[in-house]
Amino acid sequence: MKYYASIGEKEYEIEILSETQVLIDGVPHEIDLKVLRQCQSLSLLVDGRSYDINIYQDNGDWDVLLRGRQFSVEIDDERERRLRLAAGQVARPTGRYVLTAPMPGLVIDIPVGEGDQVSKGDVLLILESMKMQNELTAPRDGTVTRIETKVNDNVERKQDLLVLE
């Protein structure tokens, strides 16, 4: 089975040949995986090199903790990739973006209005939580099509705040 894993700009083609053999970008590697349930860790040996890894899925991507570093990995399998290539789109879709509250908190300010054009990085909303004022910013350019909260609202984690299109 062949997979495509991306970390930022870098893509790896990884093929699982057996429980102990993989190809990474065509290069064969011996692996030995031991799952340590109780401490939610993987002990992975790759050609004798030892890695102690914590991994979990977050919003579709895989989050990997390794030597104190954190990597977000996007994964496609062969079929998914073929489908997307056939459809002519290699990049992920960029359509509607719903800004949700990353944590419970108090809405302090909404410096944008419905219909506003915003650029990537613009502050969309200020949320107070854990004694800090946190600026929630636009992940890309777009238009604010809907605002679903107001200043002084207490919002829950994952609650929809506004929509960007």
């Binding site: 089975m1 997979y3 894993a5 991306s6 970390i7 790896y12 990884i14 699982i16 040949l17 057996s18 429980e19 993989v22 990474i24 590697h29 692996i31 995986l33 031991k34 799952v35 349930r37 401490c39 939610q40 860790s41 993987l42 992975l44 790759v46 090199r49 890695y51 890894i53 914590n54 991994i55 979990y56 899925q57 895989w62 990997v64 903790l65 390794l66 030597r67 104190g68 570093r69 954190q70 990597f71 977000s72 990995v73 994964i75 399998d77 990353p102 944590m103 419970p104 908190g105 302090i108 939580s129 854990m130 004694k131 800090m132 004022q133 946190n134 600026e135 929630l136 910013t137 984690r157």
Partner: protein, 504 residues
Amino acid sequence: MFKKILIANRGEIAVRVIRSCRELDIPTAAVYSDADRHSLHVRYADEAYYLGPSKASDSYLRGDKIIEIALECGADAIHPGYGFLAERADFSQACQESGITFIGPKPSAIAAMGDKQVARNTVSEAGVPVVLGTEGQGDLTDEELLKIAPEIGFPLLIKPSAGGGGKGMREVRNLEEMPGLLTASRREAEASFGDGNIYLEKLIQGARHIEIQILADQHGNVIHLGERECSIQRRHQKLLEEAPSPFIGENQELREAMGAVAVQAARAVDYLNAGTIEFLVDEDRNYYFLEMNTRLQVEHPVTEAVTGIDIIKEQIRIAAGQPLRLKQEDIVLKGWAMECRINAEDPFKGFMPSTGTITQSLLPAGPGIRVDSGVYSGFEISPYYDALIAKLIVHEETRNETITRMKRALEEYRVIGVRTNIPFHLALLEDPEFLAGDFDTQFIKDDVPPFSGGQDNQSLPEVAALAAVLAAHQKTQSSAVLIQGGRQATSNWKWLGRWERTTK
């Protein structure tokens, strides 16, 4: 000695105080809000009493209720920790009136130093140099502050009169952006300290934040325990502290001069118990009094490491009327210590706080490692209190060895379930300027994180990709059996799905 000490705080610092009390064989009483019944300070204290709803203003800031609980449970002393009621003269006063020892300075000293403006006036009169600002001009309105600002000159800082820890502080680059920042600062100050008063202070460019730890007993003895380097800050929040300061280094003359001035500042307000004099030190080694924190500091462990002194035990002994066991000449700094504040925040997403359940907390261990933490595996982080989940302190012979030990410890430390700033610290510890000790309070830029996310080891991203693929492979295989795997492979992989459910 005290019959029982009530700890009017939560989180790591409450646990820290409980530990020292237990070692002194003094029973402890914890107090807790709705959000904290499961917290470590409740579990580790000898007694625990319910205080009120989760919001700090309804619980940990309710001095009246805390004193009531202390009286009811027979506590004859209260340790306030840091934050919350630690620098409230009225609370110290109320304790005194109720016949309870407040483990900290007298109300008069808190008032004199706690109001940052009065403090600057006081020490200035005692001959200690201060940075230009609006001290001694009372609580000014926004209008008045906007008028004075150009006289001080930009850039300048807006600072809350009460409290510390960088909360409510704002840097102002010009007059235009100042009104909005004044509003934001007052709001944050009000939320954090229950006091919206603010003042202005000139921002010294290229300055270092270096502070001196003070101990003062009831018998007129005042000593200092050397300095801490606290210039590594993001938005005026300290992130990493060390002792000694690489800027002072072998300059014993400067260390002693600053120590002497700090003692002088403490004496100026007839100071009692542990306190810290914060200085700004410019590139020419001129130092200016910044403020005095009339309480224990978050970063006190680095001083404990290099001096071998348990500062909280000293605080308790001082409060009980015992004379200091050590004289100034007994204080010898040994080795080098460093503290990384581990916050529940995502360094890859603008240091946004991260709430949720810590499904696993695996602590680093071995020589020269200390962890002060208020969380554990299964702990739920609430949005009500600050993001500090642990302090990682290491100690070794030299600064370089301390840094490599810290990196080792950060790599061992695992927090799963919430994001932490561990990757930020690791990157910082690889920064050439940091390694050279060449940094000021502006070193950590707000918009551009100075770290690569761990590109030092070429193979790590590849291994991360492989691990993610192995995990994803299990997901896509409906039978959860690897291509050539058998029964064992099935059970080996099954956990991933299970754990996913747990962390969702």
